[in-house]
């Protein structure tokens, strides 16, 4: 194989227009919604700046090696995930099938999240923003009860957007507005992925670069908001004590792993369109570092805005108390200001304690508001939307914010769809004469029809399930088998020679050590810790139930048994592909060895011969 001549073969495989497109596609795939709404949350709950330490250690020993492995694999074998793993060894073909399955499952629910983003986007063109005011009740004497008891933002999210049911077992009806947005989202995905990387390569210039522009605008605006500095100080003040908690290290490892979108097969697909002589090592390091830097960069505007929101809530609390006191004691207006509030309170408490007690004043604590940490959809659709209402020119900020979220999610969708599309194309599901547009159309149509389930009243509960079970454990398992497969079955010496041939320089000791020992060990530990943590308590969820006595707090409920079975199925199905396919091939091999007349002319494990 080292003697393979350098003749560039015209094999008709599509290729990237230029290197920048490829790097941008990988970065766009890796940088997604999680960088904006999960990393800042983790930083906040795990001791601020101190979280960066386990994060970068995980990046060094888990993220970069695995990324390099996938990119090198795809680039050398020039095949999608299923064909590539079949080429390495038919026994390992299950890895490709498993990652293809995970890509399918994740594509389904990820685009529904984008549907929600689109719904908020098209609602941002109104004055006033629909989530800023509560609607009136039927006889117009007051506000809608559900809205009044929670907040307008909560009401818009849970009622007007999701129309959520109080229980996962109650499916509710299909929400027609979500169906419209879902159709639009899949149409956009179809538009961009219609001819594979030919079209996504052009679209990625916009969807990958635009979020950085918006983040910068939000950064500048966020820093000018009052209370931004409190938020930032709170975020970045390191609390090194948290590092003693193993949970922090686990969260860092899982965050790096899921953030880089490893084991989806999408990265293998992207790299397979590269010319063989390409420096995959530099690419891997570049993509991983850009992804992590983006996470850190995104957390600055997020925390400026959260600090602003906390400060505003604190001031509101103070103002409400002040008004109550002024009304009760008939003091002149503006006699009590926020600055002298504490002195007034102590004076009044000493002189009229019963009156003060009768007012039932809420104690206002800025730290309490800063401590409220939210991640995921709650951060984007509840907390951030509330903060946007308070900013001047809220329509513009809302539009910018939701376009940014949409671009971030769309560029990740490209990678997911590519992980589904490329293997199908190579398996020649459709005849070769049929155009590529047909295959991508079929994929998008079928996905749209299946994803209609997520537009039901209970849809968001199901998306949580998919996110927690289909998009987590299987990836860890698949990545583990990937490393073991390449290092111990394909043999690391062979792989090192391949990589050397591609990059033109000898493989560093760092790669050898991480690929051979550190990364598989880390993956194993993370997997076991992750599963143990999940199993510690019965799987539960929080439901939005207006009839709950603790409303507006969400109600803790346990999944019914049939839902738990589905969770296990979602997590197990992609993982089980790996041993199943190996078993299938073993049985086939045994049957063939028993009956030699059955041997068909077959090329076994011929990796370099075909491209």
């Amino acid at each position: 194989l080292s003697a393979t001549p350098e003749i560039p073969k015209e094999d008709g495989r599509p290729k990237w227009d230029n290197k920048f497109q490829y790097i941008l596609s990988c970065i766009g795939f890796a940088v997604g919604l999680g960088n904006v709404w999960r990393f800042p949350y983790l930083c906040q709950i795990h001791g601020g700046g101190a979280f960066l330490i386990p994060y970068f250690i995980a990046l060094l020993f888990e993220g970069i090696p695995l990324l390099h492995l996938e990119l090198a694999l795809g680039q050398y074998l020039r095949k999608g995930s299923i064909r590539a793993w079949n080429t390495i060894s038919p026994y390992l073909g299950g890895i490709g099938v498993g990652s293809w399955m995970v890509s399918v499952l994740v594509s389904l629910y990820y685009n529904t999240v984008l549907t929600w983003v689109m719904w908020y986007f098209i609602n941002s063109f109104q004055e006033p923003l629909p989530w800023s005011v509560c609607p009136l009740n039927e006889n117009r004497t007051g506000f809608n009860e559900e809205c009044y008891e929670s907040t307008a933002v909560n009401y818009f999210w849970y009622r007007k957007t999701l129309n959520i049911t109080p229980d996962i077992a109650e499916s509710g009806t299909l929400q027609w507005w979500l169906i419209l947005c879902l159709a639009a989202c899949w149409a956009i995905v179809y538009l961009c992925t219609i001819r594979g990387i030919e079209t996504t390569g052009k679209a990625i210039y916009v969807t990958a670069i635009f979020p950085y522009l918006v983040l910068t605008i939000f950064l500048i605006q966020g820093l000018t908001l009052p209370g931004a500095t409190e938020g930032l100080i709170y975020l970045f003040t390191p609390n090194l004590n948290t590092l003693k908690n193993p949970r922090v290290w686990l969260d860092a490892a899982t965050q790096i792993f899921f953030s880089l979108s490893l084991a989806f097969g999408g990265l293998i697909a992207f790299a397979s369109y590269n010319p063989k002589k390409n420096d995959c090592e530099k690419d891997a390091v570049t993509v991983a570092i850009v992804n992590s830097m983006t996470s850190v960069y995104a957390s600055i505007p997020v925390f400026s805005v959260l600090g602003f929101k906390a400060t505003t809530a604190y001031w509101d609390c103070l103002d409400r108390n002040i008004i109550n006191i002024i009304n009760e004691f008939d003091l002149p207006e503006e006699s009590i200001m926020r600055q002298n509030y504490t002195s007034w309170i102590s004076f009044l408490n000493s002189s009229y304690p019963e009156k003060i007690a009768g007012l039932k004043l809420k104690s206002c604590n800025l730290q309490e508001y800063l401590d409220q940490s939210v991640s995921g959809t709650g951060l984007a659709f509840i907390v951030f939307t509330q903060a946007i209402i308070l900013m001047p020119g809220s329509q513009a900020w809302a539009i910018l914010f939701f376009i940014m979220l949409f671009s971030l999610g769309l560029s990740s969708m490209f990678g997911n769809i590519e992980g589904v599309f490329t293997p199908l194309l190579e398996l020649q599901i459709i005849p070769k004469s049929a155009p590529k547009e047909l295959l991508s159309g079929v994929i998008c149509l079928i996905s749209f029809l299946i994803a209609l389930c997520f537009t039901l009243g209970s849809g968001s509960y199901w998306i949580d399930i998919f996110d927690r079970y289909a998009g987590s454990v299987p990836l860890l398992v698949i990545a583990f088998f990937e490393v073991i497969g390449v290092v111990y079955i394909y043999k690391i010496k062979r792989f090192s020679k391949d990589v050397e041939w591609m990059t033109g320089r000898k493989l560093n000791l760092y790669w050898q050590i991480t690929w051979r020992f550190i990364s598989p060990l880390l993956l194993l530990i993370v997997f076991m810790a992750f599963v143990t943590l999940q199993m510690q308590k019965p799987p539960s969820y929080t439901a939005w139930n207006p009839k709950y006595e603790g409303f507006p707090m969400k109600e803790e409920k346990v999944y019914p048994p049939w839902v738990q079975a589905i969770c296990v199925l979602l997590a197990a199905l992609p993982c089980v592909c790996v041993p199943l396919v190996a078993l299938f091939h073993l049985v086939k091999q045994k049957r063939r060895s028993k009956d030699p007349s059955l041997v068909p002319p077959e090329v076994f494990s011929c990796h370099g011969a075909n491209s």
Partner: protein, 224 residues
């Protein structure tokens, strides 16, 4: 004479104090927040403003059908604080020392709330009648919800893009097919036998030389 006047005046004053006091029957508390509403343009609350208030209440009662003879002197204000807040009550001029029922006052104020607010440059929130709830304004509902319009625009753009890409793809496909069939036709027409990359017609066989060495030695070999 002065004493003759003093007695009825004091009776009236006492009667007024009886009618207008905090939590009296048919009395309403008013709370005004001028600085909150007007900021730097805030005016001070003084006797003139009180007079205007009395006039507005009397005006409201007059507009409300059955009380067309209400005078400013029928409106009594008391307990003015620095906040600014006070109690007021409307007396009935036809019956001595009684107050107009609270429900009538409430209805009158509600009917003319807007006029009263505007007279003081305030709003429902900054000129509060504590027992009188205000009807909330109906939400402005456009005929087509705005989001549907934006959605329509987005969808049209996307569908136009898809149609364009598919059509251009079909055209490219047709052009490629046409080109490949044209090339095939061209190759069929010229059925050239190639020898060493050169068509045989180019080799003029007649112009070739017979190599005498081999030709001459023909008879030497025995025939098989």
């Amino acid at each position: 004479m002065l004493r003759a006047l003093l007695f009825p005046l004091s009776v009236v004053a006492i009667a007024h104090a009886e009618l207008c006091k905090p939590d009296a029957q048919n009395a309403f508390k008013v709370r005004i927040s001028i600085k909150t509403a007007l900021g730097d343009n805030a005016y001070a609350w003084d006797a003139n403003e009180e007079y205007l208030f009395k006039a507005m209440v009397a005006f409201a009662m007059r507009r409300y059908s059955s009380r067309s003879t209400t005078q400013i002197s029928n409106v009594l204000l008391c307990n003015v604080t620095d906040r600014v807040s006070f109690w007021f009550v409307v007396t009935d001029s036809s019956k001595n020392v009684t107050t107009v029922p609270g429900s009538e006052v409430e209805a009158a104020i509600r009917m003319n709330r807007n006029r009263i607010n505007n007279a003081f440059l305030l709003s429902d929130k900054t000129l509060q009648f504590l027992k009188i709830t205000s009807t909330l304004s109906p939400p402005v509902e456009p005929s087509t919800p705005a989001w549907l319009i934006v959605f329509g625009v987005v969808l049209c753009l996307v569908v136009a893009g898809i149609v364009f890409l598919i059509v251009s793809g079909i055209q490219k496909h047709k052009k490629k097919n046409k080109e490949s069939t044209e090339r095939e036709n061209l190759e069929e027409k010229v059925e050239v036998t190639l020898e060493n990359g050169m068509p045989c017609e180019a080799l003029d066989l007649k112009a070739g030389h017979i190599n005498g060495v081999f030709a001459a030695d023909d008879e030497r070999f025995t025939s098989l």
